[in-house]
């Protein structure tokens, strides 16, 4: 459980302003889904892994006598896909910012995480994938993140390799989940025992940085595993586009990460060792919800990580200047004057607060208000100077003559 303090909320809203602006400019529309959803939305095969489902907050509602459980939203994408199936059709560009709830055994980690994300529903092209990758990188750039690494994999490719390893469907699921949970060695371990894949194994763990790498892999892998030609070609199309756009990336097939609903390209965003976001293509999710044959892909950025990494001073717009409005004690007329003066100051773009407790202020400007002439005394704490004035325009002129706070 975690509070967001005033200082943290300031950063939170700063981030929000930037990603909202980016999403809107790329044509995405904001949606918000309920905090409580039905559990079965998430238990349907191919949505969340049993390991992750074992950590959701599910419970019986007050009308849960049928045994139907509800859950605190454990994922951002599935509810948006449900909303699309319930209410929309055709192509949709949707974005959201939401909290998701996952149990963490260590008390130090929070069980509520914030993320923002985009879902591009109704198109299955390489250009759509490239749009999402470029958009996510643009947001991170505008947030001042330098040295973001983009890592690519492909769910279809991993699945084709798992089939080839001779695992039964349950084992394939299990292994896919291991890989998605970040077990980079998992694929290598089982490949070692496979007569067909044993000799290509070393290639799988390499990191490629160009389409050339994938073409080389294709030349070799399709000999032993012809089934991977199709997912590999699909992968190549997107990667080639990224090359055209001049975006840097790393390809590591064995290090997919994310959700079981991914079917195509998987991308992860890192800053140093910290994962700050990721996404992928999930063409089977909406069909599994009965929404018809609708392809989709999307990504999410992890706001908790970004909040701790962002350098606020580099991206924050200058804050309005603050002024404390102080009423002379026991002066009834002054209160009315003070409200009027504060209103004018706010209209002029200042943050005007009333002094309610009479404590020493750390603010530069204090405006003392009286019911009689001279009505105002402007105190400049930096220059230790008091100036009297009789109108608020006079006060504004005095402050604007000085440099910013």
């Amino acid at each position: 459980m975690r509070d967001l303090s005033p200082a943290e909320m300031t950063v939170f809203r700063l981030l929000e302003g930037i990603y909202r602006d980016c999403f809107l400019k790329w044509g995405y529309q904001e949606v918000r889904t309920p905090t409580i959803e039905y559990l079965h939305l998430f238990t349907s095969a191919g949505t969340l892994t049993p390991g992750r489902l074992g950590k959701v907050y599910s419970f019986l509602d007050w009308d849960g006598w049928s045994g139907e459980r509800v859950v605190l939203r454990p994922d951002g994408t599935i509810p948006v896909a449900r909303l699309y199936v319930d209410k929309m059709q055709g192509m949709a560009r949707l974005f959201y910012a939401t909290n998701i709830f996952i149990f963490e055994e260590s008390g130090e980690k929070t069980r509520e995480r914030w993320q923002c994300g985009a879902e591009l529903i109704g198109v299955g092209s390489a250009m759509a994938d490239a749009e999402l990758i470029a958009l996510s990188l643009e947001i991170l750039k505008k947030l001042g993140m330098k040295g973001v690494e983009l890592k690519l994999s492909h769910a279809g490719l991993i699945k084709a390799l798992l089939v080839k390893l001779g695992l039964n469907p349950e084992e394939q699921n299990w292994m896919f989940d291991r890989i998605l949970d970040g077990d980079v060695e998992a694929l290598a371990r089982v490949s070692r025992e496979s007569p067909e894949l044993g000799n290509v194994l070393p290639l799988l763990s390499l990191n490629g940085q160009s389409t050339g790498f994938l073409r080389n892999q294709r030349a070799l892998l399709t000999r032993s595993v012809p089934e991977i030609r199709s997912p590999l070609d699909d992968f190549l199309k997107t990667v080639a586009l990224l090359d055209d756009l001049g975006l840097k990336y790393q390809v590591n097939i064995a290090s997919g990460s994310g959700f079981e609903y991914y079917t195509g390209i998987i991308f992860q965003l890192f800053l140093g060792k910290e994962k700050i976001g990721g996404g992928g293509r999930y063409d089977a999710l909406i069909p599994s919800m009965g929404g018809g044959d609708v392809p989709a892909s999307g990504f999410a950025l992890y706001l908790d990580q970004l909040m701790s990494l962002v350098k606020t001073e580099a991206i924050a717009p200058p804050l309005p200047r603050r002024i404390l409005v102080r009423v002379k004690a026991g002066d009834a007329d002054a209160v009315k004057q003070a409200f009027k003066a504060a209103d004018s100051l706010r209209k002029a773009g200042y943050i005007a607060e009333f002094d309610l407790d009479g404590r020493k202020s750390e603010k530069r400007w204090i405006l003392e208000v009286r019911g009689e002439v001279p009505v105002f005394t402007l105190v400049d704490n930096v220059k230790s100077r008091n100036t009297e004035a009789n109108s608020i325009s006079e006060v504004l002129r005095l402050m604007e003559g000085e440099s910013a706070y």
């Binding site: 079965h40 238990t43 349907s44 009308d63 849960g64 006598w65 045994g67």
Partner: protein, 468 residues
Amino acid sequence: MPIKIALPKGRLLRKTAAMLHKADWALNEYHSEMGFYRPESPKFPDLLIRVFHEKDIPIQIAMGNYDLGICCLDWIEELLTKYPSSDVVKVKDLLYGEGKLYAASASSPVELLRNGTLVHIASEYPNLAEAFALKKRLSRFSVFPVWGAAEVYPPENADMVLLSAGTLAELAACGMVPVSRVLDFSAFLIANRNSWESKNLDKIVTSICDTLPEVEKRAPEKEEINRDRIVARFSAREAADGTVRLALPDGHQQQQTVELLNRAGIKIDDYPSETGNRRPKIDIDGVSVKVIRPQDMPLQVANRNFDLAITGRDWLTDHLAQFPSSPVKEVLDLKLRKVRLVAVVSQELSVNDTGGLRQFIAAREEPFRLASEYVNIADKYARDKHLGHYRVIPTWGATEAFLPEDADLLIENTETGRTIARHNLKIIDTLFESTACLIGGTGAVVDPAKGRRIEAIVKRLRSAVGDA
């Protein structure tokens, strides 16, 4: 601090008593179900021993109320599967009380459903049942927690059950076909993690472990089970032929129930049954009977698994405290088995009413503990009476043993108050009076013939109650 150990009642009592006899514990009272739940051992005079329902023991150990406990692995896993970070250490397999947990259905299953069809699972192990459903990737399921008699639910009232059985043959004897073997279990010595890390438990542990045979446990034998095959028989749940489905209670309410039915001129064969038959024959056409736990009836009626059921108002109230809009209601007060539901504290506590209780709670730092079989009534009581920071400890009987060490207040039923006085406890509040009652659904009965049958049964019972 003395060392505290929790010993099981029920299925493990006889073998646990035999083991402790072998270990020279010479317990004065741990031989039959009619105990005072506070045995003493001359061998370990400082050891504090309490007797609980087996299902309560892992919870008591996890909470740190007891250092050591003995219970079967099924109840340990039922706790750990939902709360994996519980402070329970499995110290030693005691190699007795073996059994297996099976997922089973009533007939030869066809296929595992991942296509969105709702699968109903009845079980005394709701957490393990949920974990099983998730692991098998059932796309949609409902778990009905039951107090017992899970095997009688399929096929009409559940698609599948998760239940314990000694062998496949035992399972077959109650008409069940296994779907999956979920867990092999036996009795375990368990410890609270903090106690294990910081207290000297070695003498007790050694004394218990010295009784164990030298041999290592043999590997569990393999059984052929049709894996991954579950059939949903949802269609069978709403009897299309207009049959009225009546649920009758098992346990000690059977005698009074059968007398009432006799007075109503309703004849019923093999109830109470000496052979454990849970589907007795009734002499009214178009009525079928199942014998289940009275605790489970309101939930079952709400889900239209039964049209009528004879249970207690206490259990109906508990169900409605959990689900206020549940479509189940009292149809007829049967005026049998009159008990009061009362709030009980230790005699040593200087609290005599709820006002005093609030003062007592406000003055202490740790959360107030309510123990009850009626979890939802206890929870509502604590909310309604503004009991501040409280915790409800679910129990499965023998609740008196919880006071004063392991709980601060009980919500209990009592007929005469004598048991409560005998345990050095006192009543500080009466919640309501409970009698046996006939319950039914609140929804309309569509089939007119079925509606008439239900009416006829209610009428006969009403006149029998009036005659009493």
